[in-house]
Every structure is written in C-alpha cells, then in structure tokens.
C-alpha cells in the first residue's frame, strides 16, 4: 500500500488515483489484492516489486497487466442477478442487499414505516381503500383482488379472525417466495401486520413448507426480533392493537398449497381440501374468518402504503397492476429469479432478461403457472403478460414458475411428466382427480411408449373436460391443463407419436434408435466399452455397429462419443 502510494506520487498521479483500503475483496489466499475502478481490473498476488510496472502500465498507459490479473471467475448459475433494464424490483428490492437476520437493516430501508403510518394515521377503511385503489391481486396464482378478500374477512361474522400467509410454494420450478422469505422476511411480516390491522385479527400463521429449512429459520429469527422491538405482540406502537405470529411447517404435501387443505394442515389434520363455499374469509382456520394471502402479496403491501396506490397502479396493464416475480428455469441462458412489470412480453422475459435459449437452440415452448399451467408456443412470444391474457392463451399466471423449453423437448413427454406429478400429489379425496388423472397418465404413457391408439386424443379431451368440471379443488380442476394446452398447440406431435410411432424431438425412448455413422466413427471402441448391455460390436480402428435388438436406448454411447458419430433417429 505504501509502495503504491509512493509510486503514484512519484508519477504525479496522486491526485488522479484515489487509493482506498478495503476489507477482503475475494480470494484471501492469493493476496495482496487490488481492484481498479472503473475498469474493474482485479490484481492478485502482488508484491512491492510489481508496483512500479503496474502503475506505469495501468495508470499511466491505461493498459491492464495481464499476468497479474485474477483469472476470470467461472460464471455460475446465480439465483438473483443484477436487474436488467426491463426489470423493476419491488418485492425483491431488498433481497441480497440487506442482512435478513438483522431487523435494523430492514428498518434502515424504510422498514416498518408503512406499519407506523397505518397504525398512527389510518383506519381500517383507509387501508383497505388504498389496497383497493392499487389494484393488487393475489400473487398465489388465481389473481383475486386482495382488498376484496380483506373486506370479506373483516365483515364476516365472528369474534376471532386469523391472518394466514401461504408460504407452501410447491410448484416445481418456483422459488420466488423462498427468495423473499430468506432475503427479506420482514417485508412479509410487516405486510401481515398491516393486513391484521385492517381486518381486525390478533393471531397470524405463516405456513411454510418443510423443504425450505432456511426460510423457516430466517422467519423465526425475524419474528423474534420484531417481537423484541414491540412490532409484534401486545399494544403495538403503544396502541390497543395487538397481533402475534407463528410459523407452521408443512410436511411434504403439495396439495397443502390449496387454501382449505392448508387450513386442515395447520389444524393438525390430513391436508385434504374441502368444497367451497364457505370460503375461508367466512369460515376458515378453527372455523373462524381467515384471510389467506401469498408471500408475494403481503410483501407488496408496505410498498403500496409508503408509495401510494397510484404509484403501484402506474405499473402493469389495465387489470393486472404492479410487478410479478418469476423463477426462470429450463433451457434458458440466465436461469434465476426476476421481477418484471405486468404487461411485459414473453419474448422480453426469455430473450432479453433471460438472455435467450441455451446453446442458441430454437425456442419451442414456455410453460407458465406450474404443473397446472400450460405450454405456450412461439406464436405467443409477443403476448403481454397479465392474468387475463395468459388464461385466454390456454395457460395461467400461477405463482410464477416459468420453464423454458428448447427444440429438443417432446411435448407429449412433458405433458406425461406433469400428469405424473399431479397423479402423485393428488390427495385422493375426490374421484375425478384421483382416478381421472390416473387414466390420463396411462394414455399418455402408452402414447410415449409407441402403443398409442386412434381415439386416444379424443379420450384425453373427454377426460380433461370431466376432470376440470368435477374436481373438488384447484389441483384437480387444473390437472388437465398441461394436456389441454399441449393438445391445443402441439397436436401434430401427438398424432405423429400415435400414427407414425415417431418422436420428432427424439426423446421418447421406445420411438427412437441409435446408429453409428460410418463417416465419423474412427473405431476408438469407447462406446463399446461403455455400453451397459454389450450391444455395440466392432474391431479397434474399424466402424462399430449397434445391435438394435439388444440396445436399451440409454444414450450412453451418444454421450461418450468424442467424434459425434452416434446419431439418434426416429
């Protein structure tokens, strides 16, 4: 450091280059280190003798000294990146920026000032009106108006009322709520206290899935800290308003994300849904009026109170206001968490925010809305995202899972895959869901195995209508969606599977075969040595051959071949 300053002074650069001391930059074992801004050059393993040359080259001539630069870090899959131009962070604004285990950090970012404003200067009507004017809709998927739900719960007959936060984020591919719970738990807690104030509840529960142990721990720490500061408990802010919170864990049942099943689970029973009405707003937890919202819905509340309903309503489309978080997964370059205003197109999400398709393959479909959502093909890429538009296109908003699929994805296989999930998670209470989805899965499986029959598509369509109409809860009613949407947009793929016994995406094992291209094969014997069933024969340095009767189509030969000589055909 002294040597650096001396050298800079000697070269007359003392006024142009400011040297700052900083704690730990990165790899301590390779110190001493220097970071040069604005170019962001990172030098490591420096010694005094390097300094004159470094100062000369870097600061006088403006060239980096490459042999002293730190090797570029391998880009790893990051959950939350720096936001791109198309993103707006409302719910995720604090994630990764504050220490979630320190309430002071949250307070420094205007935390709990919305609560103070509400308790000291607003009554229940004013809070509900503000939320109403903001146009906030339930972020759990169904998109019900939040203020309406709050009003129903407040006006329901009963002496005790409950507030519940649905943190049972079970949709495969969705981890938006986990990020908020682990990164900014107080925003959810503050939102819940405000809701409790508006509704007149004294007790609240956060139902968090047990698959998220860190979220549970973070929440418990946050609740404890809020209690210590008098933000939870008796006489909040010295008023007559009292409210406390408890975390309840799930035990691995997807259906518990359905609100009536969730209530049953908090009460200590099997997580089975019951018919509605009565809705939880009227008869919910322990038979009392209960308001249930999703994590993201609550996390929006403090910002709406602080910045005003107009600010929130200025983002989004006519009927879908504000922003939405999505978890981008699948065959997209930048997987991870994003937050975008409603009205953004799928194209902007996938190709701008998401950076496009991995390995620059062709986009085939995007699956939104979780397992009960639908797959949308390329012609919907310019669809502005909102609740209504997605429903019209045959998919749903859902909680925000978004799985991008490239040209190598078989849509029949994907539909089968989602049905398998739903069949596994069906609670078994009602027949259409329990038996109906099993029949659908059987049909899809036989199509994928090359045993599809004429009439199978019609049978799937008939079952879809019945299951959708007659199931008890959202899980069953949405169960046929993956099949209905793939049939709507990729019907030809089903037909090719059934009639030609071919899988155009070369995924369904029973419908593909492997063969060795004599042009490329050099006879290295690698594939033959790796074949688990000894189906490949051939002498060294001569073209090898796969015996299709023995081949189990595991694809190992294709993976190990260094000469691109194993082709997949259908």
């Amino acid at each position: 450091m002294t040597a650096l300053q001396a050298e800079l002074a000697a070269k007359g650069l003392a006024d142009e280059v400011k040297v700052l001391e900083t704690p730990r930059i990165g790899d301590c074992e390779k110190g001493p280190e220097i970071l040069v801004y604005p170019e962001n050059y990172h030098y490591i393993g420096l010694s005094v003798k390097d300094i004159p040359f470094l100062v000369e080259e870097q600061f006088l001539k403006g060239r980096p000294v490459t042999n002293l630069l730190a090797p570029p870090k391998k880009e790893e899959a990051q959950e939350l990146r720096e936001p791109t131009a198309k993103e707006v962070r409302v719910v995720l604004r604090n994630c990764g920026k504050i220490n979630p285990e320190n309430i002071e950090d949250y307070i420094a970012e205007d935390g709990y000032s919305a609560l103070a404003k509400v308790i000291t200067s607003m009554d229940s009507d004013q809070v509900i009106d503000t939320v109403k004017n903001s146009g906030l809709r339930g972020r759990g998927g169904a998109g019900f108006l939040t203020a309406l739900k709050w009003g129903f719960t407040r006006d329901a007959v009963g002496d005790i009322r409950y507030i519940v936060c649905n943190a049972d984020e079970g949709d495969p591919g969705a981890f938006m709520n986990r990020a908020v719970l682990e990164g900014d738990p107080h925003s959810v807690i503050e939102g819940m206290i405000i809701a409790a104030y508006a509704i007149g509840a004294q007790q609240g529960y956060i139902y968090c899935r047990a698959e998220y142990p860190i979220a549970v721990r973070t929440l418990e720490i946050a609740i404890e800290q809020a209690r210590d500061l008098g933000l939870l408990g008796e006489h909040i802010f010295g008023t007559d308003f009292s409210f406390d919170l408890e975390v309840r864990q799930g035990a691995g049942a997807f259906v518990c994300g359905e609100e009536t099943a969730l209530i049953a689970s908090i009460e200590g029973r099997r997580g089975e849904p019951r018919p509605r009405p009565p809705f939880p707003a009227v008869k919910g937890l322990f038979g009392k009026p209960t308001n249930i919202n999703n994590v993201e819905t609550y996390a929006n509340i403090p910002q709406i109170i602080l910045n005003g309903a107009e600010w929130f309503a200025s983002m989004g489309t006519e009927k879908s206001k504000g922003t939405k978080t999505f978890a981008l997964a699948g065959d997209v370059k930048k997987t991870g968490l994003i937050e975008v205003p409603f009205g953004i197109t799928l194209r902007d999400i996938i190709f701008d925010v998401g950076g496009g398709i991995k390995d620059d393959l062709q986009f085939k479909a995007v699956q939104t809305g979780g397992p009960m959502g639908g797959c949308l093909p390329a012609e919907y890429l310019d669809l502005p995202m909102d609740y209504e538009k997605l429903t019209q296109a045959g998919s749903i908003m859902g909680s925000g899972g978004m799985v991008v699929m490239d040209e190598g994805t078989c849509m029949v296989d994907i539909a089968r895959f989602f049905l398998e999930f739903i069949q596994d998670e069906s609670c078994g209470k009602c027949v259409p869901c329990r038996v109906g989805t099993r029949r659908m899965l059987e049909i899809l499986t036989r199509i994928c195995e090359g045993n599809g029959r004429e009439g199978d598509i019609e049978l799937l369509e008939e079952l879809s209508v019945e299951i959708r109409q007659d199931s008890l809860c959202g899980l069953g009613q949405g169960a046929p969606n993956p099949v209905v949407s793939t049939l709507q947009h990729f019907r030809d793929e089903y037909e090719i599977h059934i009639r030609d016994k071919k899988c155009p995406a070369k995924v369904c094992r029973a419908l593909i075969s492997y063969e060795i291209d004599p042009e490329n094969c050099v006879g290295c014997t690698l594939c033959a040595r790796n074949c688990p069933v000894d189906a490949i024969s051939g002498e060294a340095k001569k073209t090898h051959v796969i015996d299709l009767d023995l081949c189990i189509r595991c694809g190992i030969c294709n993976q190990v071949c260094n000469y691109n000589a194993v082709n997949v055909t259908t």
Binding site: G170, D171, A210, R248, A251, G252, G268, D331, L337
Partner: protein, 159 residues
C-alpha cells in the same frame, strides 16, 4: 400384549418427551410427528399407539395423518436417505439420466431400502433450487448441477 423391551421403552420415552414439548395439543400433531420422525427415523406402530394414548386421538387418525405427508415415514429407512428431485426443471436439465444412474449405482428402486440398510431412495417435490438442477438431497446435504459421473464420489462420502 406388547412386550416392553429396552428399545420400546426408549421409543415411549421419546414420544412422551416430544408430546409434552408441544403440550399434547391436537393441532400440533404434525410438528410432533415430524420431530419424532427425525428422532426415531420413522413412526413405528408402537410410537403410533403411544401418541394416540397420550393425545387422545384414535390410532387410525394418527396413522392417516402420518401416512398422508411425504416427509413422515411409516416404514423404517436406511441410514442415509436420498431425496431426488423429479420436478420438471430438473428433468429438462438432464435429471432423467442422473436419476437412472442413481438407481443403477445403488441397485435400488425408488421407495426401496438397500439390503445392507445403508440407503433409502426417495423422490421429493421441488426443493426450490431449480437454478442449479438436477438436484438431490442426501440426508440434509443438497447437491446441485449433478451429472451421472459425480455420483460415486458423492456416495463415497457417506458411511
């Protein structure tokens, strides 16, 4: 009549401790079962009987709750439990190959326990770390960005 062995006295003692910790409240049945599952490995018929007696809930009802939730075991498990994520994002990210390799490597099928009592193989619902799929959990450790060739090294870490 149940013969009370040393082990079964331990089971009863553990059940009593956990039930007392949650004040035997019926709405705490799931947390109680989760905690016992962690301490005993699974909910045996003996544990079931004791929970029922202590909490005044019919055995059939305790069993119906225990068997409903995936994370509560009603059968003994191996020393290490592998939970493999079979959700779509992991599936499209190469999960199928890894899933098959796991079964081949350990020579067990899903929901089975290996003959030496070392491994139990289960699937799990989404673990929410989809950005690094395919993913599996071995006991409490999460492994992401899996490929079939990493499996032997991972399994070798467990005794």
């Amino acid at each position: 009549m149940t013969v009370t062995t040393k082990e079964s006295r331990d089971v009863i003692k553990t059940v009593d401790e956990v039930v007392d910790e949650f004040h035997a409240r019926s709405e705490e049945l799931i947390p109680i079962l989760m905690k016992l599952n962690q301490e005993l490995g699974f909910i045996s018929s003996e544990a079931l009987e004791r929970i029922s007696t202590r909490m005044h809930i019919p055995q059939s009802q305790v069993y119906s709750v225990a068997s409903f939730y995936h994370m509560i075991n009603t059968k003994p498990t191996g020393r290490h439990v592998i939970k493999f994520c079979e959700s779509a994002p992991c599936h499209v990210a190469g999960g199928r190959e890894v899933w098959e390799a796991v079964q081949k490597e350990l020579e067990i099928k899903p929901e089975e326990t290996s003959k030496d009592g070392k491994w139990t193989l289960k699937t799990t619902s989404c673990l929410g770390v989809c950005a690094v799929g395919p993913v599996m959990m071995v006991d409490d450790d999460i492994y992401g960005n899996l490929t079939p060739d990493q499996l032997p090294d991972i399994f070798a870490k467990y005794q």
